[in-house]
Symmetry: D2
């Protein structure tokens, strides 16, 4: 279970990574997981489960009180993500971002509401001060369908799991692969999961960092492309049988550059190019969504003053570099999500195999990729 | 509790209504409510409750198997409506539309998933036939904040209530006012709730019907306008004190005209003009959303053939008439939602008074409205 | 030709106006017109003309070098406005905003390009410095169809007229009515044109100003509403015959509040409520667009530094007040556009009468509006 | 100047092409060009010119009278495309689609208006029949900046050139490369231009055809990817010096499948994945737009009846195949646009070299691409 840069797969990137090559290279961000692996064999109506939830905290202070600028984008809107309408209108995120299984979205959203109320007991009860605060909360949840491996109908992820994920969220090195919201994920017919990567902008673009975290659950084996090499044309999972099911990919972007919501929305749209590099054809039943936020400033729920000064960034002159950072980070995060995932046997004996690194390396060599480019 | 046309408030409309002057004038649509009124006095953390859920069924067959063309629009996206991303991508609705309280959205969405699985047990388990069906379901939920009257934090509306609302859904004359999702609603400082109205298009526009159902929970007393008369400048609720809280209005439109999703989306955007006629200023904390669907044809989950012929409608030559129908139906539905609502005492003694019809009539007369225009 | 506040029409507004009650209450904005009135009688294929162009300059420095934050919104996209794609992507305006006749949009856009090149000779030729500037320019043009009164096919407005409008643009009191881009406008079957109004926010909302300028060319006589009174039900233009033709309304909003593009876009969407107050039903063939900009800061084409600090504004806590300011300013600007317009006889003897103020006052009195509310 | 399938570059596609592998595989579509090559040496303010216009006619009948269903999408909105607002609202195209140089958009749009009036003399003059027709026309123009090679400031393309392009438009085999709107295009630092390709859907997806036509003018040499091979890492144009200038790519999609506007819009968004395959990073100054239309039915300007029946297509069950067709056609069209282009020396001695096929083949071999995959 190596990350792509730890394998012999030659992987070229134009921009350098951050120290961890992870979303958590951006100071203040914490990521946590709750993983539910339970039961074996036939579907019972209460398992077997190969599922979970991953949470991303833009910071570990009170997010409701100190929101972060944010944006969303639907690459393919065939999905059930929660909380997007308000982000489009207001441009902020005020809860952790949770990634889970499709049918579990409402229960996870409900759990985020409970946690927000615990931290902000006035939610729903209102204020005296007319100018301040809004006693309502907008949970943000993304999803992929893990129904091939897990009993998705039973929706087992609730408050307990979400609370655990939030409580164990931390910065620093991140776990990847078959964990949290990626536990039951399938990608290109192989095991998918959670992956991450980051890019450092050069000083002439401010020296900022862009990070990506993905939850990968899309594509068919024949479509898989790694670093331009059509791996999927040559390598198929054992006993693979094509099968219709809901796919999806969730992409979370973050930066410490002081971007406003509209600028973040531009980054979201560029993530599509990173997804495409992996061979995705944006298949029809896949909810492919992007969420981006900045940690550079906070939008207070109850500002003392209406007018403030904040850092602003001329993005347009260096938009190419930010585009490149987004695209490369998304692409590499996808590869990491697959390479770090482990073979998983789920409900009804359904199996998703880990992508065999040795086979990939061998194919890369056939394609002239014989060492770091 | 009369509807506006049953009062002495002169109300002019350019287009005629349907026989019931209700969303249910469109054949096949069923509307149901579950109302929760429980407890009195101080907020306990488990009540008092003045809340509920209203469901709109485009038809009473299996909605998942036979979806309807649909569209959505955010007038003001500061809200937590569920299911909009997929409607934007695919242009169909596949569950009942539920209207409830803000923080209750996830639990109601979760209940809709349960009901969809009960009717379609393969959801989440997948298909053998590659070309058919997608084992996932997209619940559609709208919301208003009833937190002034009800313990919104506790989220008491769940599967039991949603099931009851769906089971009692029917066509024919509709209940309005303080019922279902409108039980705890406040509108212009008065009691709001559920309202409906319809308009019949002339034969030269196909003779179709456009219906509106609204869940009204927005505005301050001073802004209320009825039929152009600034009622709110003269009439205030007893003991009214301005107070910051989450508002919202949900507008559901339906028609039997064979419109496609894009055309329905145009209707959605025209609803704004009906909302404006009531004096709304689209206040900042209000999630104002529109959902529209057509009953004229169905989009099968598992079509036997990919190519079909279906009725199509040249909307553009008669767009003015459809605009007018939408605007008038929305405006009148709003008035009905208030006039049919009853004075409600909720948590902590909070009270929303029913709009006093006699006072409104008296003010209308001062403004020269002395009989049907 | 009085403005509404100079007539005996009682007009109530909740917010105070700026000193001029005009877009030009916002310091730095300049407005200019070129009016073309030529020929009489039958359409010749070269006239008669009742047309022109109005330009709004966010400031009178080099707009290309110092852009302003901006946003656009389509209330009804049935129109030919130019320049909107780039505003949506980049959030800035870099030329004057020109308002003209539908078929004349390309020639006016072409003229704006010529003027931009004159002031910035490097446009199209490129830069050496990689990080700076983009040698292309995005002209912004809105339009209404003045084809009922003017020979719109011949497209007589070109560089000469646009240059004249820009050169005579100034701040201070503004001309309104049948001038510039409003010369040939029809509104509710009466003479329409250019109108303006402004609102001053209270100190608790920063004391900023919101201004509106409109170019009105929509609606049928029976729909006209003034201050809630259904004037159109009682008052028709002499010899009016319903007739199908392209309508449209262009709404330009400005503020000195330091709003970013996304916040300005929210203002744009609220303009719909002001338009609705005038009786508009958003008729099908009408291109109804909104453009908003802020004068509070500038976005440099060639910034010396990528990171800057700039004023930022917590709009959400006072969004209601900004909404109200936008809605009221748009509504009043519409009335001014009609009241300030003069009876115009155009091509083929087509006539648009000025709205008769005395008749309106008389009708207002019938509706109990007997003096300032 | 071979197309990619005529070279020794191994190019793999999953779906078969149409007989011509061109947009014109869809019956009824006609494509025409006007090319302006004039002058040499230094920029004079009137040349040298390496520019032109390409027009795509969805059919060769009266497009204004018989519109086609259509959609648009901005991959990167930093561009000046004309006519998009109305396509978004109404979902139809009613003029030829013209592709030209950035600053020339208004003059080309103006020429399209002239041609529409010639064919429909009532445009701008109006109708008697209330229910029919709208006397206004919406020209659709896309653009790329050819300012590196051509005197873009002088905007030499007008009515004469547009008329010539329309008159010489025809179906059948298409010219590609340095022609029409692609005459002065640069792509990845090499010569770009016009390219095309098509894909045939299998019978289980209806047997329809999807075609793409591109006008390519984006990217830097180091980013060029062909069929997954990072050509740009190894191959640079002679004397290449990085230089800031406006890029852009226009993508036109067409199909004979009976898709409605919303479904076409979904195809537009998938084009992004084809663009990404070529190595594009969606660079910041590039206006990257997609326009799609269907030839399967027509939307009459003056329909005899409002209700009709028309073919409809269940796209969703075979969306993957349409996605793949779009992506592959766009990718191959891009390669064709470069391979068919010829080395061009433009203003001030600026030179864009044709991509050297032999070098590309050699590099492909180094990357294990030794024959048709």
């Amino acid at each position: 279970m190596p990350r792509i840069r730890e394998t012999d797969i030659p992987y070229h990137s134009e921009l350098p990574t951050g120290p961890l090559n992870a979303l958590t290279d951006i100071p203040g961000i914490a990521v946590g997981h709750a993983t539910l692996i339970a039961g074996e064999g036939e579907w019972t109506g209460d398992g077997p489960y190969r599922t979970g939830v991953t949470v991303i905290l833009p910071h570990t202070d009170n997010l409701y009180a100190e929101k972060v600028p944010a944006a969303v984008h639907a690459i393919n809107g065939y999905g059930k993500a929660a909380g997007f309408e308000q982000i489009r209108e207001i441009g902020t995120i005020e809860t952790p971002i949770a990634l889970t299984a499709t049918l579990n979205v409402p229960r996870v959203a409900d759990a985020l509401i409970t946690l927000a109320i615990e931290a902000n007991p006035y939610i729903g009860l209102g204020f005296k001060d007319e100018r301040r605060g809004y006693p309502t909360v907008n949970p943000v949840v993304g999803e992929i369908s893990d129904g091939y491996l897990s009993d998705i109908q039973s929706r087992p992820i609730g408050l307990k799991e979400v609370r655990a994920a939030v409580e164990n969220a931390r910065g620093g090195p991140m776990e990847e692969g078959s964990i949290g919201g990626g536990t039951g994920a399938s990608c290109f017919g192989w095991k998918g999961g959670i992956g991450t990567a980051s890019r450092r902008l050069p000083q002439r673009a401010g020296g900022f960092t862009v990070g990506a975290l993905v939850q990968t659950n899309y594509g068919r084996p024949e479509q898989l492309v790694i670093a331009g090499v059509p791996i999927g044309r040559h390598l198929r999972p054992p006993n693979y049988r094509p099968r219709r099911e809901g796919g999806s990919v969730m992409i979370v972007l973050a930066t410490d550059a002081p971007l406003e919501s509209r600028q973040l929305e531009r980054l979201c749209r560029r993530a599509t190019f990173g997804l495409a590099r992996s061979g995705s054809i944006c298949h029809g039943v896949s909810g492919d969504f992007v969420i981006a936020f900045s940690t550079a400033y906070r939008v207070l729920d109850q500002p003392a003053e209406l007018i403030t000064t904040r850092p602003a960034f001329y993005l347009q002159p260096v938009m190419d570099l930010f585009s490149l950072a987004v695209i490369e980070a998304v692409e590499e995060a996808i590869y990491n999500s697959m390479l770090m995932a482990t073979t998983t046997i789920g409900r009804d004996g359904h199996t998703r195999h880990a992508l065999p690194v040795d086979e990939v390396v061998r194919l890369m060599q056939q394609y002239g990729r014989t060492g770091r480019d």
